[in-house]
Symmetry: C2
Subunit: 110 residues, 2 copies
């Protein structure tokens, strides 16, 4: 039987500020590369955050982040949360409002 | 005086197999988010690897990988090296030849 991605990963969406959506993922088991074929992350259009800065957060391998970064390519801007900085670092932006290399504080530690 | 990125990061390019380019980065000091504003990674067109699978490798924060993944978005496909798997995991592909979630062994441990 085909697995569903909800068995090994969950996503939590939170609009932490106007125009900023935090996507926090939790792995329920060790993830394997082939699991990427099954993951269908929250859709930015259906969930109405495609015009937002998307902050990715969670504990997982770099290639999972890579997959998510590519998946969210169409949103306004993407940042990656860094627990060492207590901030999200903007890595990609399609607007002058957010600039690559800028950071944004994230209060909610998730 | 404006810093040049060569002061804190270096890139090594290697065509490890026909059609597969490994990009290995080395940080010369701790990298800060604002450093992303200065980095100009090896250009895929000028260096003639835009038609290749690009494997990213090196020790650095996830947001540095995020920046590089976005930078190399136009190449044929992108993979991230995972030392735990001794392999690179394909995270993004614009060709049926490489599929997201597939892995490719990397002999050269760099």
């Amino acid at each position: 039987m085909k697995q569903t991605f909800e068995e090994f990963i969950s996503f939590e969406l939170q609009e932490i500020k106007k125009g900023i959506t935090l996507i926090y993922f939790t792995l329920k088991r060790d993830i394997e590369p082939k699991d990427l074929k099954d993951i269908n992350p929250p859709d930015p259009v259906k969930n109405r955050f495609s015009q937002n800065l998307v902050i990715l957060s969670g504990r997982g391998p770099i290639w999972l982040y890579g997959f998510l970064i590519h998946f969210y390519h169409p949103v306004r801007a993407i940042a990656v949360f860094d627990p060492r900085l207590d901030s999200a670092v903007i890595i990609e932006s399609h607007t002058i409002e957010f600039r690559v290399g800028d950071i944004t504080k994230v209060e909610d530690k998730r």
